[in-house]
């Protein structure tokens, strides 16, 4: 038994060396975090980018001399976008690698299954998942959980506002049958009905089908003037191709996760003409975004706009590092946690990178203005990013206006 333990421990430490990608002197104090991302499974389109941005942001922090006198080390694991694999990965990270924070968790299922583990171990937890329960006080019982993404409700309010601005009267909805897809359209319905509107048809569809024609037909039969979707890229691609081939001409309003340059490439400029896109905007005017974008292009060979979760993952590291810096040398997790809202929210000098924040912290309070949003947390641990309404025209996504909710 002892032998196997030793073997496992040795193997674990080799994992560390391989993934940290940062050489530093032995014995120097370090702070170890876990990049727990959806490398495979339904989140695969985003996971690799998230992981690389966590590593890139950590590199920046360490290059600026570390946070609170410590360098950050990263251990990466794949959640496979599945709760069971996520739990085992988190157990390994907590027990063997002794990480002090789990960051970059993407799917709601994995988040809900791993939050209890983070709570038991009293470590930080930062995710991008949409399910409302995640920041519910019962789940987030110790205040260690931070969500860098909007909730389904927030998304839905933005959709309702966008529909109202565009003068739509008869919206219908189509949702991918999972927590996040349904969360968006439910949020939309609540917001829309609150303003006295009516949703003319609502369809929920199962993924991995050869065709979504009957679903489309049901929605189209209600003669909507716009269809709001809670969907992902592959299903949206198939649905829009089929829709174009039915010859209907009503409008579509899609979430950003489904409508990106890949979608336009897949369905062509003609079918994508006039599609509306509502997205929680990365804070694109910010300096932090420019830094993130440059890092993302370098690592992934794609523009940063193609993966908003990667921008969130970037911000997770910077927020954590600034809180470590503010908490001072050798602060424990509780002390660091206590500083997170202080460095992320107003008041304070607006900063957009770790190096800048580290400098400014010497003089007083800072307010990190992130790549993914302004990164201001409310009491529950949620951010409220702004949204934008874009329209696709001639194969290009162009912003029409910004929606603040």
């Amino acid at each position: 038994m002892m032998n196997r333990r030793q073997l496992l421990a040795t193997m674990a430490s080799t994992t560390l060396l391989a993934t940290a990608r940062e050489g530093f002197a032995q014995g120097a104090p370090t702070f170890r975090i876990a990049a727990l991302n959806p490398i495979t499974g339904s989140g695969a389109a985003y996971g690799a980018g998230m992981q690389k941005m966590i590593l890139a942001a950590v590199e920046e922090v360490n290059a600026a001399g570390g946070a609170g006198g410590r360098k950050i080390e990263v251990v990466a694991e794949d959640t496979q976008s599945q709760p069971q694999a996520g739990v085992l990965a988190a157990k390994k990270l907590i027990e063997i690698d002794k990480v002090q924070g789990l960051i970059g968790i993407w799917s709601s299922g994995v988040a809900l299954a791993t939050i209890p583990l983070a709570n038991d171990a009293n470590i930080l937890f930062m995710c991008t998942s949409g399910a409302p329960e995640i920041t519910n006080p019962q789940v987030n019982s110790k205040g260690l959980v931070y969500r860098f993404n909007t909730t389904g409700d927030g998304y839905g309010r933005a959709f309702a506002e966008a529909c109202a601005r565009e003068g739509f009267k008869r919206p219908a909805t189509m949702a991918f049958n999972n927590a996040s897809g349904i969360g968006i359209v439910d949020g939309f319905r609540k917001a829309w009905e609150k303003n006295g509107g009516k949703v003319v048809e609502a369809v929920v569809y199962e993924p991995n089908q050869p065709s979504y024609r009957s679903e489309l037909q049901k929605v189209l039969a209600a003669k909507p003037d716009v269809i709001v979707t809670g969907s992902y890229l592959p299903d949206t691609t198939i649905i829009l191709r089929e829709w174009f081939q039915t010859g209907d001409t009503q409008k579509w309003m899609l979430p950003g996760q489904a409508a990106n340059p890949d979608l336009i490439k897949a369905i062509g400029p003609e079918a994508s003409e006039g599609l509306f896109v509502v997205n929680s905007i990365s804070n694109e005017m910010s300096t932090a975004y420019a830094k993130f974008d440059a890092a993302y292009r370098k690592a992934m060979n794609q523009p940063g706009t193609s993966n908003i979760y990667a921008a969130m993952a970037w911000d997770m590291v910077i927020v954590l590092a600034l809180a470590m810096e503010a908490a001072g040398p050798n602060a424990n997790v509780a002390a660091i946690n206590a500083k997170i809202r202080e460095i992320a929210n107003p008041p304070g000098k607006q900063v957009s990178s770790f190096a800048e924040g580290k400098e400014a912290l010497k003089a007083g309070k800072v307010n990190y203005d992130g790549a993914s949003s302004a990164v201001d947390f409310n009491q529950a641990g949620d951010v409220l990013p702004d949204f934008d309404l874009s329209v696709i025209s001639k194969g290009v996504i162009t912003r029409k206006n910004i929606i603040k909710i």
Partner: protein
């Protein structure tokens, strides 16, 4: 370290319970049940829903086992009419229907939102290593019980009957025995074990959602009994252990081969499991623990 090993052991023990159920069905009667995850799912949801309203776990586990067995009964009737390979596909379809029902009937199961906050077993022990060890001990006890029961069944007149059915159904019929009844009972018994495994799973993970109950789980259990040796109780244990080492070991393997990216690693893990399955069926059909004298 200890806690991680305990976590691995708990998941392994849950799969052993599943494997014991399938071993009873396929190993002894030749029932090609490819819908095992359906019974697992029924057990998990029963335990989760009853646990949430405060019903003690021994009762909810029994209820889950009973419901799983009940669901197996019509499937058992169907199995009598179908060829082995047809029954494999039909039972696979059964487990998909279970998953679809659980997904669609939101009023009961909360659908795709899943059930959160399922209480931990033996929660009075806190949340530390003691509680995990206690759960593991409980699981091992249940496994040993299931193993012993399995053995008793094999050695009882009932068991000899079961083996006779597998080897020559017509002869059994000619002796005036009713193989149909035995087959259905065995299917129900195996399903009940899977139901209990589901109860442990729901309480251990603490969050269940229909996408956890996909046919891949069934295939994993099949792999475990093929690797370990069909029809052997020790095979169910050994096979599951090896499967888990394959599934989890790649986490540690990556430290040794750092030039492989995380995405490629996931593919490689799948490939290694596939290769193991192929090699075992080709070169060691009786499994690790199998005996060479039979078949």
């Amino acid at each position: 370290m200890e806690a991680y090993l305990v976590a691995m052991a708990i998941i392994t023990a849950i799969y052993v319970l599943l494997a014991l159920g399938l071993n009873l069905q396929y190993g002894l009667t030749g029932l090609t049940n490819f819908g095992h995850v359906g019974f697992f799912c029924i057990g998990a949801y029963t335990a989760a829903l009853m646990g949430q309203i405060g019903i003690p776990w021994p009762i909810s586990f029994l209820a889950g086992a009973a419901l799983a067995a009940l669901a197996a009964w019509p499937l058992g009737l169907v199995s009598l009419k179908l060829r082995d390979d047809y029954f494999a596909i039909v039972s696979l379809g059964f487990s998909e229907i279970v998953r679809i029902v659980v997904t669609s009937e939101q009023w009961l199961t909360k659908g795709v939102q899943g059930i959160t906050g399922i209480p931990k077993l033996l929660g009075f022990l806190g949340t530390g290593l003691t509680q995990s060890l206690a759960v593991l001990a409980l699981l091992i006890a249940v496994n040993v019980l299931a193993g012993l029961a399995n053995r008793r069944i094999v050695r009882s007149p009932f068991g000899r009957m079961i083996e006779a059915i597998r080897d020559n159904e017509e002869a059994v019929k000619a002796l005036g025995k009713d193989p149909a009844g035995f087959k259905i009972q065995v299917l129900m018994l195996g399903a009940a074990l899977a139901g209990v495994a589901g109860g442990f799973y729901a309480h251990y993970i603490g969050y269940i959602v229909p996408e956890q109950f996909i046919p891949l789980i069934t295939f994993y259990v099949w792999m475990a009994i093929i690797i370990g040796g069909v029809g052997r109780i020790s095979g169910a244990f050994a096979g599951t252990l090896i499967l888990m080492i394959f599934l989890e070991g790649s986490r540690f393997l990556r430290g040794v081969i750092p030039f492989v990216s995380e995405v490629e690693m996931a593919s490689i893990r799948l490939g290694i499991i596939g290769l193991a399955l192929v090699l075992f069926t080709l070169y060691r059909p009786q499994g690790l623990m199998g005996d060479y004298t039979k078949r």
